[in-house]
Symmetry: C2
Subunit: 364 residues, 2 copies
Amino acid sequence: AANKKLLILPGDGIGPEVMGEVRRIIGWFERERGLGFDIEEDLVGGCAIDAYGVPLADKTLDLAMGADAVLLGAVGGPKWEPLPFEIRPERGLLKLRKEMQLYANLRPAIVFDELADASTLKHEVVAGLDILIIRELTGDLYFGTPRGVETLPDGTRRGVNTMVYTSPEVRRVARIAFDLARKRGSKVCSVDKANVVETTEMWREEVIKLHGEGYEDIQLSHMYVDNAAMQLVRNPKQFDVIVTGNIFGDILSDEAAMLTGSLGMLPSASLGDPDESGRRRALYEPVHGSAPDITGQGVANPLATVLSFAMMLRYSFDMDAEAEMVEQAVRNVLKSGLRTGDIMQPGMAQVSTTVMGEAIIREL
Amino acid sequence: AANKKLLILPGDGIGPEVMGEVRRIIGWFERERGLGFDIEEDLVGGCAIDAYGVPLADKTLDLAMGADAVLLGAVGGPKWEPLPFEIRPERGLLKLRKEMQLYANLRPAIVFDELADASTLKHEVVAGLDILIIRELTGDLYFGTPRGVETLPDGTRRGVNTMVYTSPEVRRVARIAFDLARKRGSKVCSVDKANVVETTEMWREEVIKLHGEGYEDIQLSHMYVDNAAMQLVRNPKQFDVIVTGNIFGDILSDEAAMLTGSLGMLPSASLGDPDESGRRRALYEPVHGSAPDITGQGVANPLATVLSFAMMLRYSFDMDAEAEMVEQAVRNVLKSGLRTGDIMQPGMAQVSTTVMGEAIIREL
Ligand SMILES: CC(C)[C@H](C(=O)O)[C@@H](O)C(=O)O
Ligand SMILES: CC(C)[C@H](C(=O)O)[C@@H](O)C(=O)O
């Protein structure tokens, strides 16, 4: 088989540190398993602003469009916060999502047995938690127009943003939710605000329609977003797959991530549609940010990025067995008592980013 | 002093049951404390649809506009769910908010010592929690136009809703947040999505501007809504007053309510501006819904509505001492071990709605 083309964008802050460990794991797969990767590396976010003057250079976008998969570290940091809206680091990320049409953001919220006590929720409420939140990623308030702030003649300022979805946009992300639910608990909860916001009433209707077109085996439910925010706290284990729009998904997926108590462990995938050759545009990144407070100290937790790489093996390359291997290695390392600072517990051994990466390779 | 004009709208489901206990408490204040109330009662929500064909009749709105304060139970129920968008029970509530210009929704999230174990969060995370969320209530996606769903020539449906805020709308609700923070912990956290949504970037700028106009004693911070959803789970006690827009506030205030573990205990107030005579339009209601599953059984918890009445005494009638009395009575009744079903704990005495109401009066 031809080599897989991989674009690695370590980004800012701890991004390069955690990505270093993933590169070593990739090296292991190349040596020991004969996997062939053609790897390019480039800049995104603050470091791209420094080098190229923009958070995402055209040539970087071209590399991303030509890659079989993109692996990203993290973007942003205090250095770039004073910059104006249009050239801030996060614009690079938003542009990547939009240009690559990565409309389905997969955000697992998983509690590892060994780390269940790190949650602020009671053990019995979160132990064994395994939710998959699917957030639409290319529509909604994020990209809708008209948008912006105008100043009226009397000096009043008026801000406008537009929530917009079309029925095909709803259907394609709902289809991913149904397809993935089938490989898990076969339950999908679609979250909207259909009692107030007409766009999301349309969302609900389209999800129901698609469900009737061959997904009757999936148990479909609907929930208002305010209630979903409550139910995630009350009893998160009632959920299997949640599918929702971009802005509600931004809020709920972060809430769900925090339920687990270990943000440093959570990966994500952002998927587009397969092209003519069957290749699906895809970007993988940890949920955590660039963590400027611990940057350069060698203490960051690489496991969320490692698990993002496992998602890449599964969703971009259909290498379920290899993905499982990586995930099992992470579980084994946790079981062996190794912990980075962010997930440190009494009686465990606190280790550096590099030692954690080496431990994963040993387990492999 | 002239009698206070009170409009009582018990609404649907358990609304009439819990409101019955508040009426007895009002009776106690009239008899024992010489408070004078002129009380009118009318229908809102599903029962108004049944009786008048609309969820809020014009004559009911007139009564509300003429009242010194409105006390509402709950609206909605399965009977009215199949109805079209425009005449559903919740439209009555939204119309009341908009017509009365109740732009500031005060949602305390308080953990009562006796009920701290009811939370799904660990005791130390929530014990003593006392947050006040102030949600803007008359703008945003709830009322912005254009809105609606159109069908394009090719059959594609396209839904649009509009988030809109003006600077005076931001300032008036932020002012309430600063004023109320001054009577509490003097901390305000303004929640937005200023890194993506320009309307909320304007929100942030206006809050900062107002802060500089005489509120420098208040410690002001800003947080993105996704992070706020996380921080509420991670460490809710970091917050004092949170101020945010209508849709973010809908989500975050319900999340915060569920942190307490006792939805049946939480009151709310929705305030407008004082008119020429100094009278402030205001509506008070419990956070919980109409609870159709337990309607008519006499087991509903009246305490959220009782505490909403206490908020009325405080915010509409400046009767801080009387409000305190009611709140202390609620704490004492909890201490004495009485519980309705929703907050029942081992070793406590489970009582009916009426017995709970009587216990409050005995404590008064
Ligand atoms: C950085 C920001 C633009 C981004 C978003 O809101 O989508 C982030 O919060 C995320 O969830 O990936
Ligand atoms: C019933 C619904 C319209 C309402 C809202 O979204 O405002 C409710 O959720 C609330 O928070 O009072």
